[in-house]
């Protein structure tokens, strides 16, 4: 569809046209099956997302044996819940404490634990976050509404290799009576990256 490719096309923005042309070429040449592209989109739009990580965290909060396994071998512990694969091949869980808050970044690209959090949000991939969080994390966290006491140290984990980090936020006060499903509702994506905390009990 060459008329769809021209930058001056009236109906498509340049990237819409560019990607459509590329997919058409690759399909015509037998390199890509559009049905596989559909399936990939469906996977990351509907099946893999932060609800996975929230289940892992809620289980760690309620099951000390699982929490211990998660500390020692996060890859295996997370795999036991069915979350494996691309951009989660090698996992480490990092537990927040009152003494140390942890936050994850990839200063060199956008490495992110897809198996437990899904696709990264735009801000995580942005030059602003990647440049700033290693030099002024307190200022960055404050922009997310998270102000930590000065007595709490901050550790920034720069994902420079193929290890992917899942932050286990602190369990909210007053959540003792909740089961794992109810607790998972309190676990936000930001709390598992470290730019937020788990939701407080209303």
């Amino acid at each position: 569809m060459p008329h769809d490719h021209a930058d001056h096309d009236n109906h498509l923005d340049p990237m819409e046209a560019r990607v459509r042309a590329l997919e058409t070429i690759l399909t015509t040449k037998g390199l890509v099956d559009p049905a596989a592209v559909d399936e990939i989109i469906d996977t990351y739009a509907h099946k893999v997302g932060p609800q996975n990580g929230a289940q892992v965290v809620a289980r760690a909060w309620t099951d000390p044996e699982f929490a211990d396994w998660l500390r020692r071998d996060a890859t295996a512990a997370i795999a036991s819940m069915g979350f494996t694969g691309r951009q989660g091949e090698h996992m480490q869980a990092v537990f927040n404490t009152p003494e140390q808050h942890n936050v994850v970044v990839c200063t060199l690209c956008s490495c992110y634990p897809w198996t437990v959090l899904g696709l990264p949000p735009v801000w995580y991939k942005s030059p602003a976050y990647r440049s700033r969080v290693v030099i002024e994390p307190r200022a960055v966290l404050a922009e997310f509404g998270l102000v930590l006491p000065q007595s709490t140290g901050i550790r920034v984990w720069d994902s420079t290799a193929e290890l992917r980090y899942l932050i286990v936020p602190m369990r909210p006060a007053g959540s003792d009576g909740l089961d794992a499903d109810a607790l998972a509702e309190l676990v936000t994506r930001e709390s598992m990256i470290g730019t937020g905390q788990a939701k407080a009990i209303a």
Binding site: M15, I25, D33, A36, G85, R86, E89, C109, A161
Partner: protein, 218 residues
Amino acid sequence: MNGPHDLGGRMGFGVIAPEPNEPWFHAAWEGRALGVVLACGPLGRWTLDESRHARETLHPALYYGTSYYEIWTRALEALLLRHGLVTERELASGEAEPADPDPRRLAAANVAGVLARGGPTDRAIDAPAKFAPGDRVRAKQMHPKTHTRMPRYLTGHYGVIEVDRGGYVLPDTNAHGLGEHPQRLYTVVFDGADVWGEGAEPGLTISADLWEGYLEHI
């Protein structure tokens, strides 16, 4: 390489501005771009390291001026051209001669399995560890013109080995088709006050996962 991607500690990019209830894709083409990039991986013509290098060698104006899915798209075009899978003429015209499916073309039925398997990069290595947890090390002063995962803001700084992760594929060679050459990988912890000096935020530590060849004894 000291490319536009190496962002730790750079300034001037403004506020972070997270978007409430952000959608997975901001336009339909972003989803197609993600899908096409992931579908091309199993063709086996390049490695993840090479695709990262293709992104970081885009012109800085393009790298900073576009969305991440455009960066992915542009880098995929560069990889397809480099490996002879498409031609400039095809990209310019949007037309190609029909061909039989590549034997490695990803079928829709195999997507779930391929994504669930991923591509582990840990490798057994025989060489004894050069460093042990607790060792003080220095991140070597190095500025290769080729791909590396040593971030510039840590080069030359002192850190402490926290964990020996075992052998992993070395991106520095793998990105250039020069083989996996696995090396031991370490999680190294740096003190924010050492890395940033005067004015550093108090109570800051930074860790990075660094290959043995990036480090030296002190």
